[in-house]
């Protein structure tokens, strides 16, 4: 058993949970993407700065080794400098670079820019300032073991701030380096004197003996990235929310509008229905009062006339007048019966059933046998009519009324002929009663199904038959009409039931 727990306003609330969740997720995704993209951009930028510095240092190293040293040796060999002269200030590229870097940092400081940390780190340093710490030692080993790795990059925390740490191996030791980094005894005298320890000696060729490492702060950039990511995603969320609520609002407004429109349409059609019903009712009371009053006038007036004739001894027309009175009375009775009948068709009284139209038509033909004989008319019924879902009795009445109508309005036709058939066109099925009687003038084809709209004053009947036909067919949801090329050309009365009333017979 389920219990309905919906509270007023809950549905509305729940309706907003989904969009809020979606918005949050989207916001997180967008913020992450923006944050990542921005920090990647800023790290790349920091990396670019670092590389720039390192490469410039590398250029300096190369200049010292490739230009300064040969020039100096040439001068020494030419005897311009003492054979054993040595000073790291002139000879050691690492010494020179380190000092240049500290001047560089001073300049940065003066310019109000953040200083850039730079270190040459060696596991066997000649100068203790170049000593590698544990992680730098690991890196030197890593670069030596993996020759395809050319750089190392890491975001590290130093004193609570974020830095990008970057390291590359220093120049590979070659034979020219061995002069000063090989056996102590082979090194220049001055060098030996300056560096008494074993550090920096006993190096082998083909090895990276050091790394150059550099680090720049990236905290500022990350903060900028975060702020940017947040503001952009906030803007995005605001836009999305706006868009969403706008759409939501539009949907609600549209729903309301279409409901209202549908209501208006329905009300209009109901009003139109009512108007038709009202008009019919008005016409009904009008016709009924007229049609009942007419025979009443006949009855009253002719009784008066008969009375007068009786007192004045004029008997010749009394019998005829009595007949008139009697006929008028009969007419009133028939009229009242028909009215009762018509009022009963308000609803289909009987359940719908599958009805074989051929059987139904045959029954109707039997019912009009008297009239048929009287008129000497012939009725042909098309074989293999479809089976129809309908109120058997009522549709039987429709057919009988149409047959009677055809027989009554045969006029002077010497060979009265009636055909009951079915016509299939444009996917619809139409039953028809075709006669070669007096026909219906185009002007009256609309009115002919109205109450008491008899077209010929002299003819029999109360004018209620076709109204009954229309009522029954319309109660079935169908339509009824008459086709005639005019007076004297016969007429075809057609009725069509909705397609779903036609039972598949094949």
């Amino acid at each position: 058993m389920s219990i309905d727990i919906s509270l007023p306003g809950f549905g509305r609330c729940r309706r907003f949970i989904m969009p809020v969740v979606i918005t949050t997720i989207i916001m997180i995704i967008v913020a992450t993407v923006i944050y990542n993209a921005l920090s990647a951009f800023f790290i790349k930028d920091a990396e670019y700065k670092i590389k720039n510095v390192l490469l410039s240092h590398r250029g300096l190293h190369s200049y010292i080794q490739k230009v300064m040293h040969p020039a100096f040796y040439a001068a020494r060999d030419a005897g311009k400098v003492a054979q054993d002269y040595y000073s790291p200030k002139i000879f050691s590229s690492s010494y020179i670079v380190r000092n240049i870097h500290s001047f560089y940092n001073e300049e940065l400081k003066k310019a109000g820019l953040p200083e850039i940390y730079y270190k040459m780190a060696s596991d066997n340093p000649r100068n203790p300032v170049n000593r590698a710490d544990a992680s730098e030692t690991t890196l030197i080993r890593m670069f030596n073991d993996n020759r395809d790795i050319t750089e190392f990059r890491k975001i590290i925390m130093v004193g609570g701030s974020k830095y990008l740490y970057y390291a590359i191996p220093f120049l590979e030791t070659n034979s020219s380096c061995i002069r000063c980094h090989g056996k102590r005894a082979d090194a220049p005298q001055g060098l030996q004197a300056l560096y008494p320890g074993e550090g920096g000696f006993n190096e082998k060729t083909g090895v990276y003996r050091a790394i150059e490492s550099i680090r720049v702060p990236i905290s500022d950039e990350i903060t900028t990235a975060t702020v940017l990511a947040c503001s952009i995603s906030a803007g995005f969320v605001a836009m999305f929310m706006l868009f969403f609520f706008n759409r939501r609002l539009k949907v609600i407004v549209d729903e309301k509008t279409s409901t209202l429109e549908a209501e208006v349409v329905e009300r209009k059609s109901r009003e139109a229905d009512l108007e038709i019903k009202n008009a019919e009712l008005e016409r009904f009371t009008y016709t009924v009062s007229h049609d009942l009053k007419s025979p009443l006038i006949t009855i009253k007036s002719y009784t008066g006339s008969i009375k007068k004739d009786l007192s004045s001894g004029r008997f010749d027309r009394i019998e005829k007048d009595l007949e008139r009175v009697s006929a008028a009375g009969d007419k009133m009775a028939v009229l009242l019966d028909s009215l009762l009948e018509l009022s009963r068709i308000g609803q289909v009284i009987h359940a719908l059933e599958a009805v074989d139209m051929n059987m139904l038509v045959d029954d109707a033909v039997k019912n009009v046998a008297g009239l048929l004989q009287e008129k000497g008319a012939k009725i042909v019924v098309q074989p293999e009519l479809p089976t129809v879902w309908c109120d058997r009795q009522r549709i039987g009445e429709v057919i009988q009324n149409l047959l009677e109508n055809a027989l009554k309005y045969m006029g002077e036709q010497s060979k009265p002929h009636i055909l009951f058939g079915v016509r299939r066109e444009y996917g619809t099925t139409t039953f028809f009663v075709q006669d070669n009687g007096i026909g219906v003038d185009e002007k009256y084809q609309q009115n002919i199904f109205g109450l008491f709209n008899k077209l010929d004053a002299g003819s029999v009947g109360t004018g209620i038959g076709l109204a009954l036909v229309k009522r029954i067919v319309e109660v079935h949801g169908g339509t009824v009409w008459v086709e005639s090329e005019g007076l004297g050309k016969g007429s075809t009365f057609c009725f069509r039931l909705p397609d779903h009333n036609l039972k598949e017979t094949q």
Binding site: Y286, S289, H290, K293, S294, L296, I297, T298, K300, S301, Y302, T303, G304, S305, K307, K308, R324, A328, D441, Y444, K454, L455, D456, A457, G458
Partner: protein, 146 residues
């Protein structure tokens, strides 16, 4: 009366009522001739001299028309409208004689310039009196257009 032949055109689809009118008119002896047609179409054919009514000697223009409203083929109101909008016919006195006491019918009849509107009385005496009075007024007292 003065020897001038006076003609009434009676447009009535109910044969009993037509007979009643003719009987009473004959009794009152105002008109020399009553021509009876059963529907609106025949009435217009007669008035316009169409369809077998062309000969004005046998079918003279009436001096009064008694017109029922609910008529087969062409409605009484339509007949009235045609008559009253026709330059040659509009002077013809038209008395609407009907069972209908409906306000709409009466309003429409006057709208189309009916000269008089009377409902058929139910009793024979009243019917006789009405027709006598009508005939007398419209054919004797009233100045006829032709």
């Amino acid at each position: 009366m003065n020897g001038e032949p006076l003609t009434i055109l009676l447009v009535e689809d109910n044969p009993d009522h037509a007979e009643l009118v003719m009987r009473n008119m004959e009794d009152s002896q105002v008109a020399n001739r009553i021509i009876h047609v059963e529907d609106g179409e025949a009435a217009l054919d007669y008035l316009f001299g169409r369809a077998g009514y062309a000969d004005r000697n046998s079918f003279p223009l009436p001096h009064l028309m008694l017109l029922d409203l609910r008529l087969p083929k062409i409605d009484g109101l339509q007949v009235l409208k045609e008559v009253k909008t026709n330059a040659a016919l509009k002077a013809l006195p038209v008395v609407v004689l009907t069972t209908s006491a409906a306000e709409r019918d009466m309003a429409m009849a006057y709208e189309y310039h009916a000269n008089s509107y009377v409902t058929k009385p139910v009793s024979f005496e009243e019917f006789s009196k009405l027709l006598g009075d009508l005939g007398f007024y419209w054919l004797a007292w009233n100045k006829r257009p032709w």
